[in-house]
């Protein structure tokens, strides 16, 4: 077990190193460089005539004239050693300050979504498999098709529309306006939790549809296994039997795809956040992209991916713990 954890940990670090390289390349992709955009931002509309020399000065000042490899090493070195993600020019503040407590909000949304996903998909998937061919099962199949076809951001729009029509309320946002600038307190935390269910439901939408199918399919397979018949043949009560034998194994594919679910959620997060007006990393990422604020964008992309890689790691360990057949290297 310890070897397995170590092995997966090394794999995680290696993957993250490659990811950071790719993220850095994406940050470098937009035409022009940080100095160009910085100068343009700072002086446009002020009447100051910016010369090529001024820009060059900024470039040297920020070390942007160094070769790509050095800049990458600088960037990643500062992140790893000092937790410094560089400068966000749009705000003339360090990236870390811009991001601030949004990391925790994002993680809150992530875990709320995961909980909603599994609380819905696992029991209902099991129910559908046990009652295979019933009208409830049929209904769920239709729903899961729809869940895969209706993009989350459109669902968000539809929900907003009906909430507005029926209750006349704006149900978007992550907290009541009163708490927007307030320091963290229990009341504010509670307010956030109360606002969390909508984004969690919207983001869980397609993940639920997907996992529902997975759980239903595995559960159907497991129900036909000889071990279930054998357990029944030794007189194990039906409910206990279902939970202990097939359901226990039907959860394994769900656990093994936790990282995949996190990926899916983060993938949809920026757009859903834009629609629902959530002030967290996804929405910030979108704004950073639109403003070409690449240090902020890179930092967020790196954080989101790190969360996914970490959850993959967690899912590997969980799975090895759940399934004794999994051995190192297989």
């Amino acid at each position: 077990m310890i070897r397995l954890v170590l092995d997966r940990f090394v794999g995680m670090v290696f993957t993250m190193a490659l990811v950071s390289l790719l993220v850095f390349l994406i940050m470098e992709l937009p035409p022009g460089d940080y100095a160009d955009r910085y100068a343009f931002r700072k002086y446009s509309g002020t009447g100051v005539n910016v010369t090529e020399g001024d820009i060059q000065a900024i470039r040297e000042d920020l070390g942007l004239d160094k070769p790509l490899v050095f800049r990458y090493v600088d960037w990643i070195g500062n992140i790893v050693l000092y937790g410094d993600f560089g400068q966000a020019f749009a705000f003339e503040t360090p990236v870390t300050k811009v991001i601030g407590d949004k990391v925790w909000l994002t993680l809150g949304i992530l875990f709320a979504t995961l909980i909603v996903t599994y609380l819905i998909s696992i029991p209902i998937g099991i129910f559908a498999a046990v009652n295979r061919g019933s009208s409830g099962d049929y209904l769920l199949t239709v729903f899961s098709y729809l869940g895969l076809a209706l993009p989350n951001f459109l669902l968000a729009l539809i929900l907003l529309y009906f909430a507005n029509r029926w209750f006349g309320a704006d149900i978007g946002g992550l907290m009541s306006p009163a708490f927007e600038r307030a320091p963290w307190s229990l009341a504010k935390l509670w307010d956030v939790i109360a606002h969390l269910w909508l984004p969690a439901f919207v983001l869980a939408w397609s993940a639920v549809a997907y996992q529902l199918q997975t759980v239903r399919a595995t559960m159907s397979d497991e129900l036909n296994k000889l071990s279930v018949t054998a357990a029944r043949a030794r007189g194990v009560p039906e409910t206990k039997l279902l939970i202990k034998y097939p359901a226990r194994l039907a959860i394994n594919p769900v656990v093994s795809t936790i990282g995949f679910d996190v990926n899916r959620i983060f993938s949809e997060l920026p757009i859903v956040a834009a629609v629902l007006g959530l002030t967290e990393l996804g929405e910030l990422l979108l704004r950073a992209y639109l403003d070409l604020d690449m240090y902020v964008a890179g930092a967020i992309l790196l954080m989101l991916t790190f969360a996914i890689v970490f959850m993959n790691f967690v899912s590997d360990i969980l799975l090895a713990w759940l399934d004794p057949r999994i051995k190192l290297g297989s």
Binding site: P31, L148, A149, L154, D170, S267, P270, L290
Partner: protein
């Protein structure tokens, strides 16, 4: 008549009636046809029996045709403005109104007035004015498929002064129906091109990994893992954000297909690789090798056919991802940009609840997105069942 019937029944009682014999003959022919049918014919037969998939296939086909011939089907161009019908509601052709009925469908004319409160230009329907719907009307000059010039459109209104807006207009007075058709073409074609690009990449990358195995495979697997782990829409967004603002619509369009194709391959590549790796040691492949077949023949004759059908299924189910990604990117303004039209670009107009409340018809392109994705998914499922040689046949 009755006499011959009687005779037939009596005479054929112990043996087969001619009708039964014909049925038996038909059955024999059917079986012969079944046993001698090629793999693809079999797949097609099985697919045809999958009712939902067939329906999806027809719907998607219609959608594609409507997009392909958008110039002819759409009454107006994607950017044509009708200043007399700004933000207008859908006009549903009717046969009856308070003035009585008519055999030809018609709509009511409209005139633009100013809202007394907001001073916004709004169109007010004029229930006294009837304008009849007509087919093959003359309208704007267009090039069908970019080749054939015509002024004829599938349908329009008798009166050339008024325009028919089946699904209403946006705030600039552009016809939502026409725009949706043009958008359908853009969105579906981006899907096709994206899938093609990622397919070629998947074949090359997955093929290399699966054919060489060992160290090469290891390295490629690691790199694939890196790409799979980054959330895909933020990744696309990063690449799309880098597109220079001054690029033309065409440049952006092709850049989008490349971006979507560039990172759509990992799933497919994984399939190609694992199939190649597992087939490499199959008895029949080893047998072919021992029989002295050349590698090209082994791959072409023995390895590829065994999983082409799976690859086609994977191709079909990767369409929705392309379409949804394009829609999502354009929706937030990082994909295609006006004046280009795609489902995502159209939906961009319907981003706030206020707009949806006042002009719900701007949300119609969303229905297209959902139907297209649903159709692709159902077809994919049908194909998967049909391509499985062990599924119940005949």
């Amino acid at each position: 008549m009755a006499v011959t019937d009687d005779v037939g029944a009596v005479g054929a009682a112990p043996a087969l009636t001619p009708k039964q014999r014909r049925a038996a003959e038909r059955e024999r022919k059917r079986l012969l046809k079944y046993y001698s049918a090629s793999q693809w014919t079999l797949i097609w037969w099985r697919f045809r029996r999958h009712r939902a998939a067939m329906i999806a296939f027809v719907i998607l086909g219609l959608m594609a045709l409507m997009g392909l011939f958008a110039e002819f089907v759409a009454p107006y161009g994607p950017t044509t403005r009708d200043v007399r019908y700004l933000s207008g509601a859908p006009q549903i052709p009717m046969f009856c109104d308070h003035n009585g009925c008519s055999l030809r469908p018609f709509v009511h004319g409209a005139s633009t007035k100013r809202d007394p409160v907001t001073l916004r230009a709004i169109s007010v329907p004029d229930p006294e004015k009837r304008v009849y719907v007509a087919f093959f009307t003359q309208g704007e000059r267009v090039l069908i498929l970019g080749l054939f010039p015509t002024r004829t459109h599938l349908f329009g209104l008798d009166d050339r002064q008024t325009k028919l807006h089946l699904w209403g207009t946006d705030d600039l007075g552009r016809d939502v129906f026409s725009r949706t058709l043009y958008a359908t073409r853009t969105s579906l074609s981006i899907g096709v091109l994206g899938v093609l690009i990622s397919f070629v990449l998947a074949l090359i990358i997955g093929g290399t990994a699966g054919y060489f195995g060992g160290m090469t495979d290891n390295v490629i697997q690691r790199l694939t893992e890196v790409i799979r782990v980054i959330p895909v829409i933020p990744l696309y967004m990063g690449l799309a954000a880098a597109m220079p603002k001054e690029w033309s619509t065409t440049q952006v369009y092709f850049a989008m297909t490349v971006i979507l194709g560039l990172f759509g391959w990992p799933t497919l590549a994984r399939r190609v690789r694992s199939q190649l790796l597992s087939i490499r040691n199959e008895d029949y492949v080893v047998a072919a090798r021992l029989a002295g077949a050349r590698p090209a023949r082994i791959i072409g004759q023995h390895m590829l056919p065994s999983f082409t059908s799976f690859i086609i299924v994977d191709l079909v189910i990767s369409f929705p991802y392309m379409i949804l990604s394009e829609t999502a990117l354009s929706f937030v303004g990082l994909g295609l940009r006006p004046p280009a039209t795609s489902w995502g670009v159209l939906l961009q107009q319907a981003q706030s609840i206020r707009v949806i409340e006042q002009m719900p018809w701007l949300f119609i392109p969303a229905v297209f997105v959902v139907v297209a994705v649903l159709a692709f998914t159902v077809i994919g499922d049908g194909l998967r069942d049909a391509a499985d040689p062990y599924s119940e046949a005949r």
